[in-house]
């Protein structure tokens, strides 16, 4: 018995004690019908080969460890970005349990969302009654100012018509006639969570800008000088939205953050649970029609939304999760051009500090090879920053990236001497990435929490940037956009590089001559 009350051993240490090691061995030997160790080792080695890589890349049907989620997740993300808005997902209830858990594990925050809890009878007869009851209950219990409806794949397969259902529910008195219930069909079998983001935001904007599903006259656009900012699906939304606001305030730009979840996913622990906090006000969402332009920080999260904004006469601009000097330069200059407001010296000074930091640290990053995976815009933003640092984004993979994205990535590589030999992989998953890391190794991997399995298998150190990050805390509170955001990314990368250097030089009398105190 190794356990003791003075120094309690939990799973980290308990199972390494001899009595448990013996238990594992006996279980395996006697009952598991386990494969012999040499056979396992042989298979493991085989998965590292080019032969395996070719078979792996020949896959046509199976997906293993994808780096994407489904549409309604993005829809829930959008909903909570609006003032006192309750996300309502029409379909099976298990999905909602999953979205809530997923967000809570990343943001370490409550994630409020309701389901219409459709079951077998609804599969047969449709989910109209679930919508009627669901809206009535949610409205009575959680007192939202708006309920934003999206769908699970169940409701989509049986073809439930949200527009008609919501009208019907209002007629039945579930919510007042003039209560805002924007909606979006978000089938899980089309696109990914970034598609859901686009559809749901489009749903909200259409609701306010297109006459609330025919219930009020279509408002006339009276253009003003304001700019709408759309962040896109972003694990760093808490830090990023605040950073964008700060920069725009410095410039004196009048703006609306369209869909701003920075407060609801960063609520204080002070004795009060805030189901709703902050967010774009409904009045602002409606008035955003009149804006001069809508700027998306993530092109691939917002194609339909921007098209709709353009159709209303707004200018539109899209960036790709801008990280780094050039990307921030371009962003600020574009805003300056759009608004006629000059870029203040304060921002130029921040830029200079970032350049200073890069110059100080460049020797440790220059020439290092990186693999990156994540959402298409994040991949682009990070790859562009790495090129700026003189690093090589050798493998860039987006499970939810398309051909057009891959071409755009290639153009980015082609524009830099450090992009030579870099390759973008659209529609591939992390099991593909595993083969890439074995056959064409890199120095570092950038990705979300699931990348730790690749780190374990291939020995490539993981720098956690992306969504979700479950196993490191609080990074989502920091921005990655703007010069200050790039500074954060730089530091995260450098910390890992230095940790690795130290780890590799720590053996006394063997390698520790390089275990320097100054680097």
């Amino acid at each position: 018995m190794s356990q003791n009350a003075e120094h309690v051993l939990d799973h980290f240490d308990l199972f390494r004690q001899p009595e448990y090691v013996e238990l594992f061995e006996n279980k395996k030997k006697n009952f598991e019908n386990a494969e012999p160790a040499d056979k396992v080792e042989q298979a493991r080695e085989w998965t590292k080969t080019w032969e395996y890589r070719e078979k792996n890349f020949a896959r046509e049907a199976l997906t293993v460890n994808p780096a994407k989620a489904c549409q309604p997740l993005g829809a829930v993300f959008v909903a909570v970005g609006f003032e006192s808005t309750l996300p309502f997902v029409h379909g099976s209830q298990g999905c909602v349990a999953y979205y809530r858990s997923h967000f809570s594990r990343h943001f370490k925050e409550p994630s409020s969302c309701v389901s219409s809890s459709m079951t077998e009878d609804a599969a047969v007869f449709g989910g109209l009654n679930n919508m009627i009851d669901g809206l009535a209950n949610a409205y009575a219990m959680y007192k939202p100012k708006m309920i934003a409806v999206s769908t699970t794949c169940m409701a989509e397969v049986i073809g439930d018509d949200l527009n008609a259902f919501i009208k019907n529910a209002k007629e039945k008195g579930s919510v007042p006639e003039d209560f805002d219930v924007p909606f979006a069909h978000t089938p899980a079998f089309v696109g990914s969570h970034i598609t859901g983001y686009d559809n749901a935001l489009l749903g909200v904007l259409k609701h306010f800008w297109d006459g609330k599903a025919g219930t009020v006259p279509v408002p006339e656009r009276v253009p003003n000088e304001k700019i709408n900012f759309v962040g896109g699906f972003d694990g760093y939304t808490v830090g990023n939205q605040r950073e964008v606001s700060r920069m725009l305030d410095l410039m004196g730009v009048e703006y609306t953050l369209l869909c701003d979840a920075s407060d609801v996913w960063d609520t204080p622990t002070d004795g009060e649970f805030r189901m709703y906090d902050g967010g774009t006000t409904l009045a602002d969402a409606a008035a955003a029609l009149n804006a001069k332009a809508t700027v998306s920080m993530q092109e691939y999260c917002t194609p339909k939304t921007l098209e709709f904004c353009a159709s209303k006469g707004q200018e539109t601009l899209a960036f790709n999760h801008p990280v780094g000097i050039a990307a921030t330069d371009q962003f600020l200059m574009a805003i300056s051009k759009l608004t006629g407001k000059p870029i203040p010296d304060a921002l130029a000074k921040e830029r200079g500090r970032l350049v200073d930091a890069i110059a100080d640290s460049n020797a440790h990053i220059h020439g290092k090879k990186f693999a990156i995976y994540g959402d298409p815009d994040l991949c682009y933003g990070l790859a562009a920053f790495l090129l700026e640092l003189g690093a090589e984004p050798t493998h860039v993979l987006a499970t939810n990236g398309n051909k057009e994205w891959a071409q755009k990535m290639q153009a980015l590589f082609d524009g830099s001497p450090f992009g030579k030999g870099c390759h973008a992989y659209a529609g591939k998953d992390l099991w593909h990435m595993r083969s890439l890391l074995f056959t064409e190794p890199v120095d570092f991997l950038i990705g979300n929490t699931y990348g730790k399995y690749l780190e374990r298998d291939t020995g490539t150190p993981l720098i956690r940037i992306g969504f979700p990050v479950f196993d490191r805390h609080h990074h989502h509170r920091y921005p990655v956009w703007g010069y200050q955001g790039a500074m954060n990314v730089l530091v995260w990368i450098l910390d890992k590089i230095f940790d690795e250097i130290d780890k590799n030089t720590i053996v006394p009398a063997k390698t520790d001559y390089s275990y320097d105190i100054i680097r």
Partner: protein, 487 residues
């Protein structure tokens, strides 16, 4: 504030009345049946259960897929479990349940991987059977050491009329009798995870037991002391810290269902002399089946906290000879000093603290004894997906006047906690941050809040430490700024 039992019961009943006022009439009537107060001498907790959740109320429940893939099948480590349908279900449940296992992931074990057919629109329109067949072929090429495949159906499968059974049969034949199990655990089936457990249990009966080759030589010589652990998912290593006790008392554990389990262990279980069942809710079905078909008795046990562990070890031993009975006493005696040391250390820090629970499976009742061993009191509890037989069993654990809430809604749970002011709330990830924001210490009791194991004697030490660190965390005295505190 200490109320008499009667006053407490009265207060809790009033509280239920108050909370119900938020609902529209129809919903209030339905929810009233799920909320109650346990009164001594009653055969159950006075609440209805295993009924559809009400739309829009923010139920905490999941779905049948979660019950099958996430609970019963997912931990079987040497099989590949395909999340069949769109990408999300498998993604959100990927490695989230902490079913520990030993193995080389991606080579001979696959638990913390996400295999999905990633359905696209064309698969919905034209059906996914051909894709499924191809997926099985690709698995055979890329993961040749897998010992079987399960197909975990997501919602669309049952709606578009795919015949996953036919695909499974054909592919099983093609791959010389390979175990391929189609599971109809579409998320819209049933009212919660619970039906998924049942469906998954039935597929083990139909696609594993019924396909056993009766003439095949056994993989090991049977012994009179062979038992199988049923319904332990090895969260944070729970099954290991349980198994060690059974082995120490002289029993031989031939299978773990399903934490750190293998298909060989499932197949061997009909040879057990006794099935010992921890999570009754999720695996009573297969236990009953094995009793009927193979004549294997089963016994429920509870490995939370020294009182229940000792009682359980004796109960299990009562099914065997004196050898084992003596073994049980030996084990109890061996760990007694450790348990005393744990209680001496932590009980003074936890004595009298009040707990409110809301969990799934067996925990809304099973952990009560462990809290009581530490001098704590459970004042409210409820099941996410329990049935009436769970609430009947709960009567042996709860005190007169305990507040009971079945399939609690977000709103109800907040109101109950706010009114009863417990010292600890123990529930899940969706609840954790709500109550921490409100200033209540909290422990996740599904994942052990990334700690564990909590089962067995070794686990109790960790349980005690964790409850102490939650309740006596100095941060809880800092939630109000000094200038905001009333003089």
């Amino acid at each position: 504030m200490s109320l008499t039992v009667e006053a407490n019961t009265q207060r809790n009943k009033q509280l239920v009345e108050e909370v119900l006022k938020v609902y529209p009439d129809k919903t209030a009537k339905k929810r009233a049946k799920h909320l109650g107060v346990y009164e001594d001498g009653k055969s159950d907790c006075g609440v209805k259960s295993n009924i559809k959740s009400i739309p829009g109320v923010m139920t905490i429940r999941g779905c049948a897929y979660a019950g099958s893939k996430g609970v019963v099948w997912g931990p079987i480590k040497d099989m590949i479990h395909i999340s069949h349908g769109p990408v999300g279900c498998g993604q959100y449940s990927w490695a989230a349940r902490r079913n520990y296992y030993i193995g080389t992931t991606g080579i001979d074990t696959f638990v913390t991987m996400q295999f999905t057919s990633d359905f696209q629109e064309k698969d919905i329109v034209f059906g996914g059977d051909k894709k499924l067949a191809k997926i099985i072929d690709e698995i055979q090429v890329l993961f040749p050491l897998n010992h079987g495949i399960t197909i975990q159906s997501e919602c669309p499968i049952g709606l578009i009329g795919d015949d996953i059974e036919a695909v499974s049969k054909a592919k099983s034949k093609e791959y010389t009798g390979k175990t391929i199990v189609p599971v109809r655990c579409e998320g819209f089936r049933g009212v919660s995870q619970s039906l998924g457990h049942h469906i998954a249990n039935d597929t083990i009966r139909d696609w594993v037991f019924d396909k056993l080759d009766k003439d095949a030589p056994p993989r090991f010589e049977p012994s009179p002391y062979d038992v199988a652990i049923i319904g332990d998912y090895n969260i944070g290593g729970d099954a290991w810290s349980s198994r060690i006790l059974l082995e120490e008392m002289g029993l031989r554990v031939i299978a773990q269902w399903s934490g750190d389990g293998s298909i060989a262990e499932l197949e061997a279980t009909p040879k057990a002399k006794l099935n010992v069942l921890h999570c009754y809710r999720s695996m009573n079905y297969i236990s009953r089946h094995m009793e009927e078909k193979y004549g294997i008795p089963w016994v429920e046990y509870n490995f939370f906290g020294p009182s229940k562990i000792a009682a359980s070890l004796r109960e299990i031993a009562s099914h065997f000879d004196d050898n084992i009975k003596e073994g049980a006493e030996r084990v109890i005696a061996k760990y007694q000093p450790l348990m005393q040391a744990v209680i001496d250390k932590y009980r003074p820090r936890l004595e009298g603290k009040k707990v409110m629970l809301f969990v799934g499976g067996l925990r809304p009742r099973h952990v009560i004894g462990a809290y009581e061993d530490l001098g704590m009191e459970v004042i409210g509890t409820g099941y996410e997906f329990g049935h009436n037989d769970d609430y009947q069993r709960t009567t042996h654990y709860v005190k007169d006047g305990t507040l009971i809430y079945d399939d609690v809604t977000g709103y109800e749970f907040e109101q109950f906690v706010e009114a009863l002011q417990p010292d600890l709330v123990a529930s899940g990830i969706k609840e954790k941050y709500v109550f921490q924001k409100m200033g209540f210490p909290f422990r996740q009791m599904h994942s052990w809040d990334y700690s564990g194991p909590y089962h067995g004697y070794d686990g109790f030490a960790i349980f005690a430490r964790d409850m102490d660190m939650a309740i006596n965390n100095p941060v809880w005295s800092l939630t109000k700024a000094p200038w905001q505190q009333q003089a």
